[in-house]
Each structure stands twice: as C-alpha cells, then as structure tokens.
C-alpha cells in the first residue's frame, strides 16, 4: 500500500501516449496495473510518472484476419480474450487466460501488461513464444514488429524500450497447442509452466526457469524427445521457497512433456 509520489497522465491516443513517454524518461506505461501497482506498493521500484493506457480505445480489441491471424490489442484484458468469439480461433489463448490469477485480476490485467512485465511466473510469455506470436511496438521512429522469440530481454525487460509502447500482438492461425503448469494451489502462481505448439515442427517454451522463456525444438512431440530437449537445454532455474533448482529442472521436463502431448493430440484431431 502507500505508493511513492508519482505523476500521472491519461492519454486518449497512441501519439499522445508516446509524447508523454518521451516527455519523462522515468515514465512507465500503466496497463492493467495488476503487476506494476503491486511493485509500486512494495516500493521495490517506483516509476516517476505513469502513462495510463486505459483511455486509448485503439489499443483494445481482437480482430480475426482472413488467414486466421488474430490481432489482439495490447490493452485487451484476459477476461475479454476469454469471452471473445474471435479468440476461439486459437482456443489455447482463452484457456490459458482462464488460469491467470482470479476474476478481479482477469478483469483488469491485459495481454500487453502480462508480456511487458515478463515476470518469470507469467503464463503468456512462454505461450506467445510457442505460438510464434509477433509483437508490434511503436516508438518515435515508428512501428516495428518483433517476433516473440526476440521480444523478451529479462525480468520486467522486453523489446519495448523506454519511450516505446506495445501496440498489439499477432497470433497466427493454429490449433495444435498445449499448456501445462505446476501451480501454487489450484490455478495459482506458476512454479513451472510450459506451452507447446505442434504444426509440422514442435515448439515448446518453458516459463519460470529463466529470466526469459526458454524455447525448445524437440524433433518430435513424444515424451522422450521432449525430455531430451529439456535436458539438452542445460537449465539453471532459480531456487526459491516453492521449488529447489533441482525440482524446477525436473518439473520443466514433466510440464514440457505434458504440454507437448496435449499439443500433438490437438494437432492430430480433425
């Protein structure tokens, strides 16, 4: 509770938001705030200025393209993704969003915030890497698109640099997806999670084991291949009160295998 002093602005357009971010180098974008406000309560980190993106309609909404590509505005909430008919085009999205925290958080928390905060326990970073999503970032030089695999730099650090904004996320068409996690209590914080996508090749992305999602490309989705891929990754996961490094490394294998199996099963389904 009890935040440090901060200045606040609520732009209504992307251009205005970029102006504000440029105007104050200590400024941070405020999306759903379900992570940022907590960090500010702890006063563990305190931005000097907040640019509240909740007033920018253009950042919301889900669009389904003719080729099946989903375009999701960065400020679209988990609840909106779960409820969206369009998002059902890639069912894993809504299914994973439904596992994030609780109703209140899902009503405020956004896909953009989840990705940009990149807390190692977040659900969406590994999922986006697995499904080869593409993030469109706007800065003063204009817009650029970054593949999910290159989007995450570190804890709370992404390709969205100072003065920049994540505008939207593009998720290509697909159905062969899986997600598995061991969580702290039912649908709780992830101790380790894994997202997988099977579409010809197999992509498995592990969460909670490093500062950024770890992408694996096992030769096949069968258990042994996936296990081998995890071992080959030479993980050095964090050691905390919920899991020793040894346990996390083991769980990584288990959830990777489970996610891959689910993905393969769905890929095979008619």
């Amino acid at each position: 509770m009890l935040l440090r002093e901060v200045v606040y602005a609520k732009p209504v357009s992307i251009a205005e938001a970029l102006d504000l971010l440029a105007a104050n180098e200590g400024a941070r974008a405020l999306a759903g705030g379900q992570t940022l406000v907590n960090v500010m309560k702890a006063r563990a980190a305190s931005p000097d200025a907040l640019v509240d993106l909740n007033g920018i309609e253009k950042l919301r909404g889900i669009d389904l393209g003719a080729d099946g590509t989903l375009t999701i505005g960065a400020m679209t909430t988990y609840a909106e993704i779960m409820a969206s008919a369009e998002a059902k085009a890639r069912p894993i999205l809504g299914e994973v969003c439904a596992q994030i925290a609780d109703v209140q958080v899902r009503n405020r928390g956004t896909i953009g915030g989840n990705l940009c905060s990149n807390d190692p326990t977040n659900h969406l970073p590994p999922l986006m890497v697995a499904v080869e999503a593409r993030m469109t970032v706007a800065g003063w030089e204009g817009e650029r698109t970054v593949p999910a695999g290159e989007f995450f730099f570190g804890v709370y650090l992404t390709a969205v640099g100072p003065g920049e904004l994540l505008l939207r996320v593009e998720v290509p068409a697909g159905k062969g997806d899986g997600f598995a996690a061991v969580t702290l209590g039912a649908d709780g914080t992830c101790i380790v999670n894994a997202a997988a996508s099977v579409d010809g090749d197999v992509r498995v992305a592990l969460g909670c084991v490093d500062a950024v999602p770890v992408l694996l490309r096992p030769g096949s989705a069968d258990a042994e291949a996936v296990r081998a891929a995890v071992r080959a990754a030479g993980l050095d996961p964090p050691d905390d009160v919920h899991a020793t490094a040894e346990y996390r490394a083991h769980l990584a294998e288990v959830v990777a295998v489970r996610a891959a199996a689910e993905a393969a099963e769905r890929a095979a389904a008619p």
């Binding site: 509770m1 009890l2 935040l3 440090r4 002093e5 907590n38 702890a42 006063r43 609780d102 061991v182 702290l184 209590g185 039912a186 649908d187 709780g188 914080t189 101790i191 905390d240 009160v241 919920h242 899991a243 020793t244 346990y247 083991h250 769980l251 288990v254």
Partner: protein, 821 residues
C-alpha cells in the same frame, strides 16, 4: 469439490430444550453484511497522525547511528520516536521467564541492536499514511551487520551468534519433564522405535485483518484510550502498565469488531506502547495500521519446534508404553508470550493415548526471526502433531494398522474422567467412537478399492488420521512450572446482566470476540434463564475496560468462552432472575419467591397468570419508581458475576496438576491423491469429527470446526514462514505465502458427538482450536500414499509439492531418521 455434509450428534443425553442447543442466527451478522462493522482501522479522530515504522532490513546488526532530522523536517510530519527515547521513557517489558530468558531487556522499539528483519527501529508520524511512509524513508539508520542465527539447532553451539548478551547466550528456557517410570517402560518393551528428528514448521493463522490501533491521550487526567483489535487486553495491560510506569486504570482498551485473531493478536503490546508514547509526545491521536508485509515480518509467528532423539517403547501388539524426546522450541528474537509454550503443551502430554511413562526435555532458544506467540492450538498443536506422528511411524515401522494402534491405545470412554500421567484431568469423551465416525465419513471401508482405482490412473492414494485435544480454560498456575516466582493461578471471566429502566435486558462481557458469535450465544443463555427470546437481549459488542465489566483474564483466547464467558453470563443472569423474583414477591405483597416464575418477558405467580409483572415494570420500579419498596429489599437488577473455575495451584516440584478444565476432541481423516511425477497432490475426501460437549449453537460450533480445518489444510500443504540463511523472510506476503482459496478446499464432511463436560455449569467445553488434527491427517495421508514407493517417513509438518517429490525421489533421506530395535 463438493459441499459439506453434517452428521448430527447421536443423543448421549436428553435432547436440549430452550434456546441453548439451537442454531440461532447470529446477532453480529447484519452489521457485518452491510459493511457497518466497526474494525479498528475504521476508527478516526480529528487531527490524528498516522504512524509508520522504520523496520530493520537486517536479521542481526548493531545500530550505530539514527538520524531523524531529515524526516522531521518534512512538512506534514508531526514527529518521530526512537529506541533511545523508548529506553528513557519506559522500562523493559515484564518477563514471564526467570533466568536466563528473563534477563533480556525487551522494549517497544529496537534499542542499540536489531534482532530480526522487520523489527521496528523508529516510528514516524505524519498527516497522511503516504507521507508517514515517505518520511520514514528519510530516516537514516546506520547498521553494523552481525552474523545471523536462523537455525535453532545451532543456537547453543559455542560459535553461535548471541542475540541477547543479557541472557549470556541463546538459551531462553529449559525444563525437564518426567512422569512414570521410563526405565521400566523401556525394559518391558518388545520393540523400541527411534526417530532422530521431527520438525513442526513456522506459520500462523494470518487473520485477514492485521493489527492496529487508534490511541488518544487525555493529558488532563493522564489516561489513554486505546481503540485496538488486541484480543487479550488483560494481558496487554499488565505488560504495558509497568513498562509505561502507570497504573492499569490509565489504559482504557476498547474493541468492537475484530477481523480474526486466532491468538495472533495477543502480543501487539509493543506497538501499542509506541502509539501511547507518541500520542502523549505529539499531543494528538495516533493511528496505527499494520500492513500485511509488516504482519508477516514481525507479528506472532507460531512456535517452530524440533523433536530430537525420540524413543518409543512398544509391545509387539502395538501397545504403547511410553516415549522420551528432546523438544527444541524456536522462540524467535523476543519472548513476547514465551516461554509459556514450554508448559502449555503439557495440558495434553499423552495426547489421546494411555501411555503412562513420558519424558520430555524441553529447551527454548532465541533466533534472529520474528518473535513467536500464540497461534490457534498454541503449543498443544506442536506436541499433538508429534504424538500423532509417533503413532503413525510406529505403526508403519512395525507393520501395524494405524487404526488398530489408535484404538488399542486410546483412553476409553469408561475411563473418563481420566487423570493423565501429569495430573491433568480429561473430563469426558469417546475417541474410538469419533474415529469410527470419521472413517465412515471418508468411506474408509472401500479405501483399498479406491487405492487400486487411483493407481490405475497413475495416482498414489493415501489416507491419514489426525487428532487433537483442544484443552480449554487455562489454569494460569501452570505458569509456575515455567517460573516458580510467578504469582498467577486459576482463571476467571465476568459478565454483567441488567434490566434497564424500560425493561431492556443488557449484557456486557469481558471478552473480545473475533467472529465466534459471543453476542449470539450469550443471548441464548440469557434467554433460557429469563424465559424470553434472544432478540430481547442486547449484548454489547466488543470490549471496553472502562464501561463493560472485565476481569483479570478477560479476553478471547485459549478456547474458553463457552466455559468461562457463558458460565459468567449464566451466573449473572441467575442472580438477575433471583432479584426479579424478590422484587416481584415484594410488589405482590409477600408472595413467596418459590411461587413465582419467569415467563413471557416478565415474572408471574405460578397458576395465576393475571398476576404478571413485565420486565419493563420491574426496571421502572427499581430505577425510577422505588418509593415504598421494603428497606431490606436489596435489588439493583444490575448483576455482575465472576465465574472462577475450580483449580488448584499445580505441584511445581512434580510438574503435576490440572492445567486446564475441559478437553474438546477432534479426529480428522483425510484422503489424498499424489501425482508421483511431480509430488503435486490434492485432498479428495476429508472428514472432521468434533466433540466439544454440549453445544450452545451447533452452527457456530461447526463453523469453528470448518475454519480450523481449513487453516490446518493450508498449514499442512503450503503455509510456512521460511527464512534464508541471512534471516530474510521468503514469504513476507500472500503472493509467496499461499493461503488456500475456494478452489483449494476438498469436499468436507463434518460429524459431531456430544460428551458434556461434568465440570462446567452448561456441560460445554471450550473449542475452536482443533486445527492440529488436520495438519497431522494430511501428513499421515502423505506417508500412506508413499507406502511401497520408497516408504519415506513424513518428518516435517508442512509438505509442499517439492517436499513430497523429494520424499519420492530420495526416500532414503527420511528413512535414515528412523530405526527399530
């Protein structure tokens, strides 16, 4: 996930009549449901200043310099308080312990040294909450870090860092307890089971409302009014008065609604002293709100306890003869209620079992962790977990059925009242019957079929039993087993019942309820005696040491309201009923009292209903229309009664005597399924059977049983205050300290039997602290699930997934703790 089902008590006595025994809707509910409860943080005063504590980032360090000038210079900052001022303005808190623990100097802020992360060092008061925290960041404190002592097992090592030089080491208290003839027991034993180490972990009940206060100082009369949620004002007063060098009547404690306590709100007296000093220094009301992280870092952790070198003497048939063990209790940095934990466990020395030869060598040490203090099941929970663990380990190692071992060794119903080896008297109960009911409720008959069915799904199914004795109504004389110099003994509680001028029935209690429904159950007892409806009875909410009645031990703690509180209410109401009759006898011109009866909200002559005096008339006559009443008629219609349980001072030499009045019992059974690949597990069935004697309000009783069960499940699976080697708390908030939510709860079946206490006026027993049973039930279920998969021994009371996986992966680690000869 399914709802709870209840098995009604089978009649062991004539069905109750009247209001007592009925699930009367709670008087408290309406205001709480409408957001109109008054919790401590809701209390505001004009010009109040908000206090924020500067806390230590180090587990152990010398304070070399404190500079508050920058903070005090901030506009809107009212002032500060440092340990140096506290040491000048107050005396160290009274210590329950004798030497060595009793020699430590405990002040309300750190003086010269910090001893745990989160210890309060400076208090800053400002116009707003935010500003107080801002300014506290400007307080400069220089520390000289010292090595931290985190593991109690190293506390007595020669090279261990010493927290309190005054105590000459980290030993706070030691006591040897021995009853019966250990040598004979071990000589007679066919088998001896040895358990090298067991560990009961550190957690607490984390009431959803943290601590707080609004303190006003009346300079004219030198008196403080302390609006707080402290749950044992009587204890706070005797700690604070001498420290502040004032008489207890200068400290007025007021509580109304309290957002959960569970024992965790007994030891807020240091913070209350700081607020009092600031209110006087700054001449304005002081508001203190403890935030969740503050609470986790610094408030009332439950006692962490190790049990070393345990040996159990058993006959081949599973008959338990006795045990010896070395208990090592981790008190944290200060003795805020300790070392009482060093004797409270002795209320339940043999658990539910008949072994007569017991030795417990009890040592309590200080560590660089938050101070411990009572937590639901205080100190008995640790010991009962230990005894239950012993039963299951013995059964496991000797290849016996845990159910049979329990039944063979349970104290029998016909043996009640039963005197334990240390002189406690179990008043009543039928443990075997409770166990049968619990097993029936989880479908124990089909358990092997279900085990096979689960195995087919790749899951390991396990079933476990856990029991607790919720000993209630302390004989405070037990404190003399800790320190013979102490002059405490017995117990008491008070109630006042009066008829107001318009006949309103008004009850005031000394207690500080936190959800136990005292307003409701007190009204039920009054209504039965005055023959009216509980709706006609106004029970004042909360505690007020100025305007409500209160006694030396007033408060809500240690499972006693149903005995002490309601017996006081009963006594006061009977006095009032007697006065009403004496008044009526006079008004009716000398009709003998025996000819009168209370009915329909008044008093009347038996057999002639027309001769009726309503309570309103009684109140009016005595209070406003009393001319002509007989001079010798001593009637005030304002009756105060103090209930004093029948206790003797225990024998300090033999550590022998009756330490508590009643023994409610709980037997829980848990069925779990483990995913062997990850160690993840879930409870698939759960039963909680409770016997707390006569139940005044069965619904409220069941609510207490459910709540204790939920806390047990959380503690057994997730909840732990874990520290790293530097003494940083790794679970300082609800993000990492996982409190179970609605999705985490298993299907629950509750069962109840009623064995009325022969020792209490209403046949009631204190209850509500039976959570320990669940902790053990889960531990036992985990061990059962792992049977045949490495046969790991569950040695810790908290078993998160990682530990279960480790037990599956490296069973030899825990196997090495156990041996049988």
């Amino acid at each position: 996930m399914s709802s709870s089902t209840t098995v009604a008590p089978s009649p062991v006595q004539a069905p109750q009549k009247g209001w007592a025994g009925q699930s009367v809707p709670r008087k408290e509910d309406k205001r709480l449901l409408q957001g109109e409860g008054v919790f401590v943080d809701d209390v505001k005063r004009h010009g109040m200043g908000y206090v924020h504590f500067v806390r230590s980032p180090y587990a152990h360090a010398h304070i070399t310099r404190i500079d508050v000038s920058e903070a005090e210079a901030v506009e809107g900052v009212y002032g500060t308080l440092t340990g140096e001022e506290v040491a000048a303005l107050t005396d160290p808190f009274f210590q329950i312990a004798g030497a060595p623990g009793g020699q430590i100097k405990d002040y309300s802020l750190a003086v010269g040294k910090v001893r745990y992360v989160g210890e309060a060092v400076v208090a800053v008061v400002a116009e707003t909450r935010e500003l107080a925290r801002d300014a506290s960041e400007l307080v400069e404190v220089d520390y000289e870090p010292l090595p931290a002592l985190v593991d109690a097992r190293k506390a007595l090592d020669a090279d261990a860092p010493v927290l309190h030089d005054d105590a000459g080491g980290n030993l706070m208290w030691h006591g040897s307890y021995e009853w019966g003839d250990l040598d004979a027991a071990f000589a007679e034993a066919d088998r001896v089971v040895r358990i090298e180490e067991l560990h009961f972990h550190r957690f607490n009940s984390t009431p959803l409302e943290c601590d707080g206060a609004l303190v006003e100082y009346n300079r004219g009369v030198g008196q403080w009014t302390i609006h707080t949620n402290n749950q044992f004002p009587g204890f706070a007063a005797i700690m604070m008065g001498p420290a502040m060098r004032v008489g207890l009547d200068r400290l007025r404690f007021v509580t109304q609604d309290i957002g959960g306590g569970f024992g965790n709100k007994i030891t807020s007296h240091p913070q209350l002293v700081v607020c009092c000093l600031l209110a006087r220094k700054l001449g304005r009301p002081i508001q203190w709100t403890e935030w969740r992280t503050d609470f986790h870092l610094s408030m009332s952790h439950g006692n962490e306890r190790w049990f070393h070198d345990t040996e159990v003497a058993v006959r081949s048939d599973g008959t338990l003869l006795g045990f010896r063990t070395k208990a090592l209790d981790d008190a944290g940095a200060w003795l805020r209620y300790e070392p009482l934990g060093g004797v409270i466990w002795a209320q339940v020395t043999p658990g539910m079992y008949r072994w007569r030869h017991i030795r417990v060598d009890f040592t309590q040490v200080a560590t660089n962790k938050a101070p411990v203090s009572p937590n639901r099941g205080y100190s008995r929970m640790q010991h009962l977990w230990f005894t239950e663990r012993v039963i299951d380990i013995v059964a496991h190692e000797l290849g016996l059925d845990p159910v049979e071992v329990r039944k063979r060794n349970y104290i029998r119903a016909e043996e009640m009242p039963y005197e334990t080896p240390n002189g406690c008297v179990y008043d009543s109960g039928d443990y075997a019957r409770m166990l049968d009911l619990a097993l029936e409720l989880v479908g124990h008959g089909e358990i092997e079929t279900r085990r096979a069915e689960a195995a087919a799904r790749g899951r390991l199914l396990g079933v476990g039993i856990g029991s607790t004795l919720d000993s209630g109504t302390n004989n405070f004389g037990q404190s003399r087993l800790i320190n013979p110099e102490l002059q405490f003994s017995g117990n008491n509680e008070v109630a006042t019942v009066k008829l107001d001028i318009f006949g309103e029935i008004v009850v005031t209690l000394g207690t500080t309820p936190q959800g136990q429904g005292h307003e409701t159950t007190a009204a039920q007892v009054v209504a039965d005696i005055l023959r009216c409806s509980p709706d006609d009875v106004h029970v004042r909410a909360g505690h007020d040491s100025y305007w409500n009645s209160h006694a030396g031990f007033s408060g809500t703690y240690a499972s006693q309201f149903a005995v002490t509180g309601l017996s006081a209410v009963k006594g006061a109401t009977e006095m009032l009923a007697g006065e009403i009759k004496r008044l009526a006898s006079a008004v009716f011109g000398g009709v003998p009292v025996e000819a009168l009866e209370l009915a329909d909200g008044g008093v009347r002559i038996k057999g002639s209903p027309e001769a009726f005096l309503p309570f309103m008339a009684c109140g009016a006559i005595v209070n406003a229309n009393n001319a002509g009443l007989p001079e010798d008629l001593d009637v005030t219609l304002n009756c105060r009664y103090v209930y004093r349980p029948p206790f003797q001072v225990p024998d300090v030499e033999r550590k022998f005597g009756n330490l508590t009045l009643t023994y409610a019992a709980q037997i829980h059974a848990a069925v779990i399924e483990v995913d062997p690949e990850t160690g993840w597990y879930e409870l698939v069935d759960y039963a909680a059977v409770d016997d707390c004697g006569s139940r005044i309000n069965p619904q409220i009783v069941e609510g207490q049983v459910m709540g204790a069960t939920a806390q047990a499940i959380g503690a057994a699976m997730h909840e732990v205050f874990e520290y790293d080697e530097d003494g940083n708390l790794l679970t300082p908030n609800f993000y990492d300290y996982h409190v179970p939510h609605a999705l985490d709860m298993p299907p629950l079946a509750t069962g109840a039997i009623e064995s009325p206490s022969p020792f209490t006026p209403l046949g009631t027993k204190g209850m509500g602290e039976g959570g320990g049973a669940g902790i053990h039930a889960v531990c036992a279920a985990v061990q059962d699930a792992l049977r045949g998969h490495g046969d790991a021994i569950v040695w810790d009371s908290c078993n998160p997934y990682r530990r279960v996986w480790e037990m599956l992966e490296h069973p030899e680690r825990s196997r090495a703790l156990v041996s049988v000869t």
